[in-house]
Structures are given as structure tokens and as C-alpha cells.
């Protein structure tokens, strides 16, 4: 069985499995399947890195009749990042979603939801079919909304509903674009659309799909649903929502603008994508500065960090795609997505440990916790370093690549934004750090936190740093099957 099919189906099989099996088998099964899927993801990465992109025609039918799936370097990198985050979340949830701590409801439902999300994410990373992507996105949205509502408070329900309204509106806008594309070209395949005869309605189709995906990616000003939804979910769920879910819709945006319809990427359109990104960096950063709860700070930081990714459009898209710097910008944006995923998951899992330890995530209640839980404090600090883009971390590599491209492209204001955004990040992560490392009276912990649990966020945070120290390997992986117009450079 090829690694591609395994990556695609194992999470779904596992989700059905944990749904059916009796309670005592649930966690062993989830752990075993997480290990197997991670192994399959690794195998897929190796295959892609060695032998180039892997194609699969589902059902043996080639487009336009069937659905094509393709693992290129970008998909493989996101799949392995997802596997690492999911693996860590599985370990954390082993402690946090146990029946004794979280009740039988969460102990039942978290596992299948997590695995369904995993399967849906992998399906979206791999799919080359616009409608199939829609179904995958809907599966992601439903699982994500359910995860956001999992804690069962009125706030969580309200936040999940608001999330759902944005997600539904976004899906339908995306679908409207898909409908127009099919009606005009008789195909849904990204590869076939690249070679289409341009039609009048293409710009509208691309615009509608983009608008829908922006709402799902929570790009400013569509970000309002994100912080409450991410902050009111249980911590392992927040980690999944913040680290992984927005990346899926962003990936589709990249596929559309770089692969399906690169001919429509005019400078003005690309700028229109990046300007809200810049606004997100600043506005998300400013709002993160004034929050009083740790999870809200982390969630607003997600709003800000997602903004950076959109710099890829003016720096590597359209006519600029053939320029030497485009490869750097393209890779830099993906590097940012990867390192943000690892670091943000580490942060939310750390927040989950604090909430388990003191029952609150208000900064005032976290004072001095680094002394009682030093590994967690260290993990939080390392993750913050990545998110600030300080060396030597994956975030720094991303920032370096993007800044270099910005200068090379003569678009230096983006470099200014990257530098300023890093300082804002330093500002908003400074407050929780000071609270954690304060020398106040010893806080009595509600429960002791096993060392194994404490080490979970640390492993993720160290991985986000290692991504910077060992960035040559992922860099080479990302070049596999990079969209043709952008591969002229470097």
C-alpha cells in the first residue's frame, strides 16, 4: 500500500475505529494510529524528496472525469507538520481528555473529531480537484466547529456559532467560484485549469473562491471569529484549530493563485491580498498586546501571524514569479506556515497545562508558574522565540527568506512590516513571560502535572527551533514540484 493512500485513509479508518470500539480500547487505538499515520507521513516525505511528486488518480479515473491527488513537496511538508502537531496533541489529550479529568463526553468525542480533522486536512493538502477540496473544507469546518464548541460553555457555543457562520459563508462563496469555473471550462482539476482557454468570468470565479477562502483563513478583516473560537476551546483543540486549520484554506489559495490561474495574478490583485495581511499583522498584534488571558493573547497572535503568509502573493506571484527572488518568498511563506504550526501548537498545549495546574489562564493567576512547571515555561519561551522570528528558529528562516525577497523585489515596505511585526510579537509575548517567570509567592497547583505531559509542548517547541537549525532539508523538500512559473529563480 503506497504511503499516499495510507496518509489519506488511515486517519479516516482510525476515526471510524475509535468511534466504534469500546471505551477501554479508544486511547490505545488513537495512540497506535497516530504513530502509524506519522510513520506513513514520514514515508511519503521520503518518497517525495527522493522520487519527486507522487500522483494518484482516485478510482483510476483521470480528470476531468475523476479526481487527481498529488503529493508535491508543499503537500508533503504540510502533511508531516500536521502529523507532528497531531502526534503531540494526541499525547497531550491522553492526559487532558481522559475520562477522569474531562468527563466521558470529551473522552469519547475528542478522538474521532481529531482524527476526522486529520483525515480532512490530509485530503485537502493532496487534492487537485476544486470540488473535492470543497468537500474536504466542509469536513474540516464541521470537525473544527465541533472542537471549538467542545468545552460546552455559553461562550464556547456563541464563538463556535460565529465561527460556523463565517465558515459557511466562506464555503458557499468558494463553491460559487468553483461552479463558475466548471461551467466555463468543464473541469475541476487544477492541472487542467492551468491549461484552459481563458474566459471572461475567470476573474470573478477566482475572486469568489479567494473571498471564501479568506473568510476561512481568518484574514483581517474576517478575523473576528477566530480569537473567541480558539480561546474558548479546550487547549488541545485550540492547538489544532490555530496551528493547522487556517493552513488548509491558505494552501488552496496558493494552489489557485500559483497553479490554477497564475495568469490572473495582476499586481493590483496580489497587492489586494497582501494589504489585509499587513493590516492583520499590525491589528492582531495590537489587540494581542491588550488581552488579559493567555489563550486570547495566543489566539490574537494567530491573527497576526497568519497575515505574514499573504506576503507570498506580491513577492512570488504574477509576473514576479519568474524573478530570482520568487523562490525565496514562496519557500519563506511556507516555512512560516510550518514553524507557526509547530510553535502555536506548543503554546496552546502549554496553556492547557497551566489551566490544568491553576484552573485559569488569566495572566494574574499565572504568576510564578515557571518555577513549578519549568519545562512548560521553557517550551513557551522557545515557541515565542520562533513566533518573534528570532534566530535560530524556523520563524527566523521564514522571515529571512521573505525579507530578502522583499528587498530584492524592491518592495521594502514588506520588510519593514516583517521587522515591526517581530517587535510587536516580542511586545505581546513579553507580558505572559514576565508573569510566568515572576518571583511571586508559590502558587499551589490544583493537580500535579506528569513530566511526560510537560514534555509534549517542549518537544514541539524544540522542533520549531530545529526547523531553523536544520532548514536545508525542508527547504529542498519544498522545491519538489513547486509550481513551474516560480521555479525559474535561485
Amino acid at each position: 500500500m503506497s504511503a499516499l493512500v495510507a496518509v489519506l485513509t488511515l486517519p479516516l479508518v482510525a476515526a471510524l475505529g475509535v468511534f466504534v470500539v469500546p471505551a477501554r480500547l479508544r486511547v490505545p487505538m488513537a495512540l497506535a494510529s497516530a504513530a502509524m499515520i506519522t510513520g506513513a507521513a514520514l514515508a511519503l516525505c521520503v518518497t517525495v524528496a527522493r522520487g519527486g511528486p507522487v500522483m494518484l488518480m482516485a478510482g483510476g479515473w483521470a480528470p476531468p472525469i475523476g479526481i487527481a491527488l498529488r503529493a508535491d513537496g508543499l503537500a508533503a511538508a504540510l502533511i508531516i507538520m500536521t502529523a507532528l502537531v497531531m502526534g503531540a496533541v494526541t499525547c497531550a489529550a491522553w492526559f487532558e481528555a481522559s475520562p477522569a479529568r474531562a468527563g466521558p463526553r470529551m473522552a469519547f468525542g475528542f478522538w474521532p473529531l481529531m482524527l476526522l480533522l486529520w483525515g480532512a486536512l490530509n485530503a485537502v493538502y493532496l487534492s487537485r480537484d476544486l470540488f473535492n477540496l470543497y468537500v474536504g473544507l466542509e469536513l474540516i469546518s464541521l470537525a473544527a466547529v465541533a472542537l471549538a464548541a467542545l468545552s460546552g460553555t455559553a461562550q464556547a457555543f456563541a464563538a463556535a456559532l460565529r465561527y460556523m457562520i463565517f465558515a459557511l459563508a466562506g464555503s458557499l462563496l468558494y463553491l460559487a467560484g468553483v461552479v463558475l469555473a466548471y461551467a466555463a471550462h468543464g473541469t475541476l482539476d487544477i492541472g487542467l485549469l492551468t491549461a484552459r482557454t481563458p474566459a471572461q468570468g475567470d476573474a470573478l470565479a477566482l475572486g469568489l473562491m479567494t473571498a471564501g477562502l479568506l473568510a476561512k483563513t481568518a484574514l483581517f478583516p474576517f478575523h473576528v471569529w477566530l480569537p473567541p473560537a480558539h480561546a474558548s476551546a479546550p487547549a488541545p483543540a485550540s492547538a489544532l484549530l490555530s496551528a493547522l486549520v487556517p493552513k488548509a484554506s491558505f494552501l488552496i489559495l496558493m494552489r489557485l493563485w500559483f497553479e490554477a490561474m497564475p495568469d490572473l495574478a495582476t499586481p493590483a490583485a496580489l497587492l489586494a491580498l497582501a494589504v489585509p495581511g499587513a493590516a492583520a499583522v499590525l491589528w492582531g498584534g495590537v489587540l494581542a498586546l491588550v488581552q488579559k488571558r493567555l489563550k486570547l493573547i495566543i489566539a490574537y497572535s494567530t491573527v497576526a501571524q497568519l497575515g505574514y503568509m499573504f506576503l507570498v502573493f506580491p513577492l512570488a506571484g504574477g509576473g514576479g514569479a519568474a524573478q530570482p527572488w520568487a523562490a525565496g518568498a514562496w519557500t519563506g511563506a511556507v516555512f512560516h506556515a510550518l514553524s507557526h504550526g509547530l510553535a502555536k501548537a506548543a503554546m496552546f498545549l502549554a496553556a492547557g497545562i497551566y489551566i490544568a495546574a491553576v484552573g485559569s489562564d488569566r495572566l494574574g493567576d499565572l504568576r510564578g508558574l515557571a518555577r513549578a512547571l519549568p519545562m512548560t515555561g521553557f517550551a513557551f519561551a522557545l515557541a515565542a522565540i520562533t513566533l518573534m522570528g528570532l534566530p535560530p528558529s524556523g520563524g527566523f528562516t521564514a522571515k529571512y527568506l521573505l525579507m530578502t525577497s522583499a528587498f530584492a523585489a524592491g518592495q521594502w515596505p514588506w520588510a519593514l512590516l516583517l521587522a515591526g511585526g517581530g517587535l510587536l510579537a516580542a511586545g505581546y509575548f513579553y507580558r505572559p513571560m514576565v508573569a510566568l517567570f515572576a518571583r511571586d509567592a508559590r502558587v499551589p497547583l490544583l493537580r500535579s502535572i506528569p513530566r511526560a505531559w510537560q514534555s509534549v509542548p517542549l518537544v514541539l517547541a524544540v522542533l520549531s527551533i530545529m526547523l531553523g537549525l536544520l532548514s536545508a532539508t525542508p527547504f529542498d523538500l519544498l522545491q519538489v514540484g513547486r509550481p513551474p512559473p516560480a521555479s525559474e529563480g535561485l
Binding site: 470540488f131 470543497y134 468537500v135 466542509e138 469546518s141 464541521l142 466547529v145 465541533a146 464548541a149 468545552s151 460546552g152 460553555t153 455559553a154 461562550q155 464556547a156 457555543f157 456563541a158 464563538a159 463556535a160 456559532l161 460565529r162 460556523m164 457562520i165 459557511l168 459563508a169 464555503s171 458557499l172 463553491l175 460559487a176 461552479v179 466548471y182 461551467a183 480569537p227 473567541p228 480561546a231 474558548s232 476551546a233 479546550p234 488581552q291 488579559k292 488571558r293 489563550k295 486570547l296 489551566i355 484552573g359 485559569s360 489562564d361 488569566r362
Partner: protein, 106 residues
């Protein structure tokens, strides 16, 4: 000409649904609006697929899939509305999320 009627009806339904999804406060109505928007879009798609004389089977299959997906989403949304109402007594969204409420984190 017939197809144009249905396509334009679909287009208007999409607009109407989008308006409802954004502006109507009662959450059950928002779910209705979402369904209108979806089915309007499908109508447009169906009309477009029927242009070749013989109806194209692919749009039909996609629409059936879309209808089922829309039902799944509606069901979860309805469940959330009922759950929210049970917890807060409201069938609408409080205007703004209280960023710094007194509730402890979950």
C-alpha cells in the same frame, strides 16, 4: 431562455441568502438563509449544466453531494443554536464576545 430564468433565479437566491446570512439576527433564520444561498447556487449550477442539451451528469452528482453537505452543516448549526439557547437563553449571538469576562477558561 428557460435556463436563463432558472440561472437568474439562482443568482438572486444567492444574493438573498447572503444578505440573510449576514444581517438577520435570529439564528434559525440565518440557517434558512444559508440553505437558500446554497440551493440558489445549485440551481445556477444545474442550469449551467443543462446548457448542452443533454443534462451533464457531473453537476447533478456534485449538487447531490452539496445538498447532503449543506444538510450536515445545517444540522450542526441547529444543534449549536439549541445548545446556545439552553445555556444562555438566547436564540441570537451576543453582539460582541466579552474578551475579558469573569468566566474562568475551560
Amino acid at each position: 431562455m428557460t435556463l436563463t430564468y432558472y440561472a437568474l433565479t439562482g443568482a438572486v437566491l444567492v444574493g438573498l441568502g447572503a444578505y440573510g446570512l449576514l444581517a438577520v439576527p435570529h439564528l434559525i433564520r440565518r440557517i434558512i438563509a444559508f440553505n437558500l444561498m446554497g440551493s440558489g447556487l445549485f440551481l445556477f449550477f444545474g442550469a449551467a449544466g443543462a446548457r448542452g442539451g443533454v443534462p451533464d451528469a457531473i453537476p447533478q452528482a456534485l449538487i447531490i453531494t452539496g445538498i447532503v453537505v449543506a444538510l450536515s452543516a445545517s444540522a450542526l448549526a441547529v444543534g449549536l443554536v439549541v445548545a446556545l439557547a439552553r445555556r444562555s437563553g438566547k436564540a441570537f449571538l451576543p453582539d460582541d464576545y466579552p474578551a475579558d469576562d469573569e468566566d474562568r477558561a475551560p
